[in-house]
Amino acid sequence: MSFTIEGATGPWEIVCGLEVHAQVTSNAKLFSGAATAFGAAPNSQVSFVDAGFPGMLPVINRECVAQAVRTGLGLKAQINLWSRFDRKNYFYADLPQGYQISQYAHPIVGTGAIEIELADGSTKTIGITRLHLEQDAGKSLHDQHPTKSFIDLNRSGVALMEIVSEPDMRSPEEAGAYLTKLRQILRYLGTCDGNMDEGSMRADVNVSVRKAGEAYRTRCEVKNVNSIRFVMQAVEAEARRQIEVWESGGSVDQETRLFDTGRGVTRSMRSKEDAHDYRYFPDPDLPPLVLEAEWVEGLKATLPELPDARRARYVAMGLSPYDAHVLTLEKETAAYFETVAQGRDAKVAANWVTGDLFAAINRTKTSIAEPPVPAEHLGALLDLLANKTLSGTLAKTVFEAMIETGKSPGAIVQERGLRQVTDTGAIERMVDQVLEANADKVAEYRAGKEKLFGFFVGQVMKAMQGKGNPALVNEVVKKKLG
């Protein structure tokens, strides 16, 4: 069932493509040696190059290039061994050089593809048009002074990858799934930290609407949407706006818009009025970027395992597709799971991670990056289960104690004497006592009231403070009752 929006004139289809700006993970900026860390004092991570001072020249950072290539490889895209930097000319308060160094005509990465998963379990391939490297601009603060904007150039010159998709998405859900998957891939690759609230990823959302079977109609670009949820909202809000325009007899103008997150609508961007003649031309300060095929091969050889491959591997290990999906969403989760599962039963490990651990994270308001229980400790707990030191019930008790104390399961078992009793003699003595004390019930049982079996087991376990091995207790109760 394809997604449509019902208008007065019938159903409309959404056509959506995304341009995602992803900040490259690197120590220094794309063309200067200034730092890139988030949250520094204003203008403290600025070189004269970043501030566009007279006579300053750009020199490219090898790691930023490597990160773009890794990303291209992760998107199964064409790596262009010859690419070039162009200048995009426009005036803006936080654009110190009066141009952005970008790759317009010859990007470093060409066409690729991303497979997205949808809620109904289906998958869809979204085409990648290109990926190019460019500089970020600075930041304008508009709320510090009644009549002035303040400029902080810390971001100026930070490397960005602009990743442009084909207009292949047909619903807000697909747009959300695309951005989720792209973010996941970048984070697996370590090429972008994906922190959308710190501005490390922003999306320009291109939206148009059409009737079934039509060619594309005019699109609008909603700029700088900074969360996956807002992207989905913006797609829908902009589509609804355009449907209204078309249905009221008007026509949609190609323009740049902003998403008002408070009101959930898009609005026209006044300041971009004449910014459309960017006068791109090759940056004369920068010769072409020529890559050696062997260098690219070297990067390819050291690429980490990506989400799709990892998910397939987990399924092969015996996990359900759902668990495999959940465990690979964040690379930290997968890393945690791998540590727990290392040398152990993968399914048991998956159950603990997706069950008890996730619940504990929710309850304690922690995260997989800073988990309530270290993966090594959870692994050790699983070992105690496997070698029958702990019963399932005891393990839950120990797990809670691990969260409270931060101690290893071994230490907790030691301190609290929580070791399960597997000594048959001790269990037999306890069963004898329980049966003796409940002679009336034994009689009822023997008369045919078989559901009392559980009662006897429970009484024995209670008497043993939960430490009796459940299987053995069962076995002995059954034997004694004859």
């Binding site: 403290s44 090898r62 002074h145």
Partner: protein, 95 residues
Amino acid sequence: MSLDTATVRRIASLARIRLEEPEVPRMQAELNGILGWIEQLQAVDTEGVEPMAGGGAVSLRMREDAVTDGGIPEQVLANAPDREGEYFGVPKVVE
């Protein structure tokens, strides 16, 4: 290709150079003089010629990813015509 006055105004706006109305015709004449002279290039056969962008090296040299610069906010701000604390100040920008 001859420039009309509207184009002269549009180019001045793109270049962010204020052009007072009486200056427009003179600028137009000068630009058209230069462009008319440049027009002779259209006679050159450039079929199949690869454009030459830069003057020098055939490929970009890459530097290592190390923090070697920045940390000089006082120097960066020292020449600012309007310094507002740790920031550069400009008239309020409305988006």
